[in-house]
C-alpha cells in the first residue's frame, strides 16, 4: 500500500471531518478517485473514521454505484428500464458490446471503460439513455454509440464528447447536458409564473403554526406517491420533543417512469429551496438536506451554486431571509444507486452514512428520524407546492383538482405515445383524456404510478388520476397493443429483485419467487395452478413486507393477473402425461448423462 494512497484516503476522510455520518461522501469520493473502494481502502476508511471495517464493507456493498473491485476510468451505465427496452436499447447494447469488445459487467482489458446495466435513470421520455460517468446521453442509437466509443477510445474523457445541449438550464454552464426538459404542459402551480421568494417572505411574516395551518387548509398531500398530508407531517415534527430538527427533501426519484423532479431541479431549484426554507421554519429546523440520487449527479454543481447564491443573497444562513433568529441552511447528500433510498426511512439511513435499510416504525421520522431527531421528509414537488401555497394562499391552491386531491400534479408520461414528457394537470383527469393529450393510440395498457402502482386496461380508462382512485407519484407509462404484458411484468419484477434491500424475508425472497413464477409462464411451462400460486405469493409479500417497496412490489403481478388474466390464460398449458409442465426430463438427465458418458435408454430424443 503506497504512502500516497494512505494519505489520499486520510484526506478524503478529513474533508468530511472524519464524521461517521458522512460515510456516504467518503466512499463516493473514494470510488470516484480510485475507481473502487478496495479492501485496503475499506481498512483505511474504517481506521480514519473510527468505524469497523465490515461496516464500511456493508455500506459499499449496498449501493450499486460503489464497488470493491476496480472499475474503468469511464463507466458506461446503460439504462435497461422497460421503456428503454421498448425504444430499442437491445440494439444499442449490442453496439456497445461490439465497439468495446466486452460484455456487460466487464471492463476493457486496458482498464479504461466499464460497461454496465442500470435501472431507470429518469430519462424515459428520451430513451434509450445511458450515464457515462456523471453525464447523461439520451436518444441513443447504434450510430451514436459508435461516435461515443470512438471519442472515448481517443481521449477517454466523456466530457470531451461533443453534444448538443438541451433546453433551459440544461445548457447552463454548470450543467452542460444534452438532457431535454420535455416540459409539455405548464400548470399554474409548479411551472406557473410566480414572484420569486414571495412564498417564503409571507411565511416568515406568519407564525410557524400559521404556516402549518395554511398548508393544512390547502389540503396538500405528499407528491411522492404515498399522499400523506404534508401539514400533518409538519405538525407532528414540530410538536415532537427535541431541540434539533431536520427537514429532508427526497430527490431520489427512482420509480421507473418518473422524471418530473428532474425538471423541477433543473428549472425550479429556487422554488424548491424556498419551499424547504418554509418547511424548516414551520417545523423549527435549522438544517435541511437535499438527498439527490446518483443518477442526477450531473445537476449537483448547478444546485450547489443555486444554494451558494441563496446564501450570498441572505436567503440561507444566519437570520435567513432577514428573519431574526431563523438560521437555516441546506446541504446536498448524494446517493449512490439504490431505489430503496426513495423510501423515507431508508433515505434517512443513507443520509446517516449507513446501508440504505428502512427503519422500524414506530418511531416515525417525525418523532425520531435523522440522527434520532424529529425529521420531516418531503418530496421535491411537495416543497414547490408549499412555496406556492404560501405565495397565493390555500384557497387559490385548491381551486383546481378534485375533492380529496386538490390542485395540480406533475405527471411524467413515457412509453407508446407521440408526446412523452412532463405535464402539469389538475388532479381528477380521466386516463382516456390524458391518453389523448399525450398522443397515445392503440393503447393496450397503462401503468399508473410505475411498477409499484397499477397496470390497467381499457376497462379502467374512465377512471381518474387522484389519490382516491389511481394514485401516482408521477409515473405514467403507456403500452400499445403490440407489447407483451407478461414480459413487461417480468422485467419489472427483475427490477424489484435487483432493488430489494433484502432486510425482510417476504420482499427478499418473495420477489425472486414471483419473478421466477412469471418466467416459467413466459417460457410456456405454466399451468392453471400457477396463477393461484402467484396470487397467494404476491398477497403474502404485500401483506408481510416491512416497507413500501415490498408492500407494492407484487403489484405488476397482481394487477396484471386482475386486469389481463386472459393474457396469462392464453399461454397456460394442460399437463397431459402426469408430469409438471415445468419439468423437463431430458434436461434433468443431461448432467448424469454427461457424467456417465451414455444416453438414457428410456428418454431418447
Amino acid at each position: 500500500m503506497s504512502v500516497e494512497f494512505k494519505q489520499t484516503i486520510k484526506e478524503i476522510c478529513e474533508a468530511c471531518g472524519n464524521d461517521r455520518s458522512l460515510m456516504m461522501d467518503v466512499v463516493i469520493a473514494t470510488q470516484k478517485r480510485f475507481g473502487c473502494v478496495s479492501n485496503e481502502a475499506m481498512d483505511l476508511i474504517a481506521e480514519n473514521m473510527n468505524a469497523h471495517r465490515v461496516e464500511v464493507e456493508g455500506v459499499v456493498s449496498f449501493y450499486s454505484f460503489l464497488s470493491p473491485d476496480p472499475k474503468g476510468q469511464v463507466v458506461i451505465r446503460l439504462c435497461n428500464d422497460v421503456v428503454d427496452q421498448m425504444q430499442g436499447v437491445q440494439a444499442v447494447a449490442e453496439a456497445f458490446k461490439k465497439e468495446l469488445g466486452i460484455d456487460f459487467g466487464q471492463t476493457t482489458p486496458d482498464g479504461k471503460i466499464t460497461l454496465e446495466w442500470t435501472p431507470c435513470i429518469g430519462m424515459c421520455d428520451q430513451a434509450p439513455a445511458a450515464l457515462i460517468n456523471d453525464m447523461v446521453f439520451t436518444y441513443l442509437s447504434t450510430d451514436k454509440v459508435r461516435e461515443i466509443t470512438d471519442e472515448l477510445k481517443k481521449h477517454g474523457d466523456p466530457e470531451q464528447i461533443p453534444i448538443r445541449y438541451g433546453d433551459g438550464n440544461n445548457a447552463h454552464d454548470l450543467v452542460k447536458s444534452m438532457v431535454n426538459n420535455g416540459l409539455r404542459k405548464k400548470g399554474a402551480v409548479i411551472f406557473g409564473q410566480h414572484e420569486a421568494e414571495k412564498g417564503v417572505k409571507n411565511a416568515l411574516s406568519m407564525s410557524a403554526v400559521e404556516v402549518i395551518r395554511e398548508v393544512k387548509n390547502a389540503r396538500l398531500r405528499g407528491r411522492g406517491g404515498a399522499g400523506f398530508p404534508t401539514g400533518m407531517k409538519w405538525e407532528f415534527t414540530r410538536a415532537a420533543d427535541g431541540d434539533k430538527k431536520y427537514i429532508l427533501c427526497n430527490a431520489d426519484e427512482g420509480e421507473p417512469g418518473t422524471f418530473k423532479d428532474r425538471v423541477i431541479l433543473t428549472e425550479r431549484a429556487d422554488l424548491l429551496f424556498e419551499g424547504m426554507t418554509i418547511g424548516g421554519y414551520a417545523v423549527g429546523s435549522d438544517e435541511g438536506i437535499l438527498y439527490l440520487r446518483a443518477e442526477y449527479a450531473y445537476l449537483r454543481a448547478f444546485l450547489e451554486n443555486v444554494l451558494k447564491e441563496r446564501r450570498d443573497r441572505g436567503l440561507l444562513g444566519k437570520n435567513a431571509c432577514g428573519k431574526d433568529g431563523f438560521d437555516f441552511d441546506i446541504r446536498i447528500q448524494m446517493g449512490a444507486g439504490a431505489y430503496i433510498c426513495g423510501e423515507e426511512t431508508a433515505l434517512i439511513s443513507s443520509c446517516e452514512g449507513l446501508r440504505g435499510d428502512p427503519k422500524n416504525r414506530p418511531p416515525f421520522p417525525a418523532q425520531k428520524g435523522y440522527k434520532e431527531c424529529p425529521t420531516s421528509v418531503n418530496n421535491v414537488e411537495t416543497f414547490c407546492a408549499v412555496a406556492r401555497i404560501l405565495d397565493k394562499g390555500a384557497a387559490w391552491f385548491s381551486e383546481v383538482g378534485s375533492q380529496g386531491s386538490p390542485s395540480t400534479k406533475l405527471l411524467s408520461v413515457s412509453g407508446d405515445c407521440t408526446n412523452p414528457g412532463v405535464y402539469e394537470f389538475p388532479f381528477g383527469m380521466r386516463v382516456d383524456d390524458l391518453l389523448k393529450k399525450v398522443g397515445a393510440q392503440d393503447v393496450q395498457a397503462v401503468l399508473i404510478g410505475g411498477p409499484s402502482g397499477q397496470l390497467i386496461g381499457s376497462a379502467d380508462f374512465e377512471r381518474t388520476i387522484c389519490y382516491d382512485d389511481l394514485a401516482t407519484g408521477g409515473s405514467v407509462i403507456v403500452f400499445n397493443s403490440k407489447r407483451n404484458i407478461l414480459e413487461i411484468v417480468g422485467q419489472y419484477m427483475d427490477f424489484f429483485v435487483e432493488e430489494s434491500c433484502g432486510y425482510c424475508t417476504p420482499c427478499r425472497v418473495g420477489n425472486v419467487l414471483l419473478r421466477n413464477g412469471i418466467e416459467k409462464i413466459i417460457h410456456g411451462q405454466g399451468e392453471k395452478a400457477d396463477l393461484d400460486y402467484l396470487q397467494e405469493l404476491g398477497e403474502t409479500v404485500k401483506l408481510a413486507s416491512r416497507c413500501g417497496l415490498g408492500q407494492t412490489s407484487p403489484n405488476p403481478v397482481l394487477t396484471s393477473l386482475k386486469n389481463f388474466r386472459a393474457v396469462y390464460e392464453a399461454v397456460l398449458i394442460e399437463p397431459t402425461d402426469g408430469q409438471q409442465p415445468s419439468f423437463d426430463i431430458k434436461a434433468a438427465l443431461s448432467v448424469s448423462e454427461d457424467l456417465t458418458g451414455r444416453k438414457s435408454e428410456i428418454y431418447k430424443d
Binding site: 465490515v54 435487483e498 424475508t505 418473495g510
Partner: protein, 239 residues
C-alpha cells in the same frame, strides 16, 4: 413504573399490558404465543423475519415492533395469518440450503421447530439452491451461510451485548449475507467462543466446534414439545 394499563384483545381474548410494551411482549406475558424468529429477548427488535406479523385493527404489523394501544383488536391465530406465516417460513427454507437431517442444530433449531408447528413437512416453493460459503477458519467456531436466515441476532448481539462488531450484513437483496469484520476470515476477527453473538443463532449458521451431537437427537429442546410451549400458559391443543 407507570400505573396505567393498556387493554386490548388478541383473537378476542382480553390482554393487559404496560404503555410502550410491544404486542409480542404483552402476548408473551399473557401466555399467548405469537410465532417469531428474528426476535430475541434482550435485543432491540429487528423486525426482519416478519413471522410475527399480526393484523392490528385491520392493518398488518410486526408484533415485535408494534406497541400496544388501548382498545385495539389484534388477530394472531387466524387461518389467513397462519397461511402467510407458513409462506414466509417456507421462503426461508428455499432461499438457503437447509438439510435438517445432517444439521447439528436439528431439534434445537427454531426454524425447524416453527416449520413443524406450522405444519410444514416440505417446502412448497421451489428450492433456490444458492451457492453459499462456509468459514471454518476459527479454532472454536464455524459459520455455515447455507443455513443463515439473516435474522441479525449475531450482528446486534456482537455490537450491543459483546461490545464488538464481529458480524455485519453486506450486499443487498438476494445477495445479502453475513460477513465478518475482516477481509476474509472469522479467525482474523476478535470473536470469542463465549461471545453472546456466537450463542444466539436460531439456526445452525453459527455453531461451536467439537460439540456436535453432544445431546442426542430425541432429547433436544423441541423434541418433546413444540416451539412456543413455554409461553403458552394453558395446554390448548397445538396443531
Amino acid at each position: 413504573m407507570s400505573e396505567k394499563t393498556i387493554t386490548f384483545t388478541i383473537d378476542g381474548v382480553e390482554v393487559k399490558g404496560a404503555p410502550g410494551q410491544t404486542i409480542l411482549d404483552a402476548a408473551d406475558a399473557a401466555g399467548i404465543y405469537i410465532p417469531r424468529l428474528c426476535h430475541f429477548k434482550g435485543l432491540n427488535p429487528h423486525g426482519s423475519c416478519r413471522v410475527c406479523t399480526v393484523i392490528v385493527n385491520g392493518r398488518p404489523q410486526a408484533a415485535c415492533t408494534q406497541p400496544i394501544a388501548e382498545g385495539t383488536t389484534v388477530e394472531n391465530d387466524t387461518e389467513d395469518i397462519k397461511k402467510h406465516r407458513s409462506n414466509i417460513v417456507d421462503m426461508m427454507f428455499v432461499e438457503g440450503n437447509h438439510f435438517c437431517m445432517f444439521c447439528e442444530k436439528s431439534g434445537n433449531c427454531e426454524l425447524q421447530a416453527l416449520a413443524y408447528r406450522l405444519g410444514i413437512c416440505a417446502p412448497k416453493y421451489p428450492f433456490q439452491f444458492p451457492d453459499c460459503t462456509l468459514d471454518a477458519s476459527h479454532p472454536d467456531i464455524f459459520i455455515d451461510r447455507n443455513r443463515c436466515i439473516l435474522c441479525g441476532r449475531c450482528v446486534q448481539a456482537s455490537k450491543d451485548l459483546d461490545g464488538k462488531c464481529v458480524f455485519e450484513f453486506v450486499g443487498r437483496g438476494a445477495e445479502k449475507k453475513i460477513a465478518v469484520n475482516a477481509e476474509a476470515k472469522l479467525s482474523d476477527t476478535n470473536v470469542d467462543v463465549t461471545d453472546r453473538a456466537v450463542n444466539i443463532c436460531p439456526v445452525g449458521a453459527i455453531l461451536k466446534k467439537r460439540e456436535g451431537f453432544k445431546i442426542p437427537i430425541g432429547e433436544r429442546m423441541y423434541d418433546a414439545q413444540p416451539i412456543g410451549s413455554d409461553i403458552e400458559s394453558d395446554t390448548k391443543s397445538i396443531k
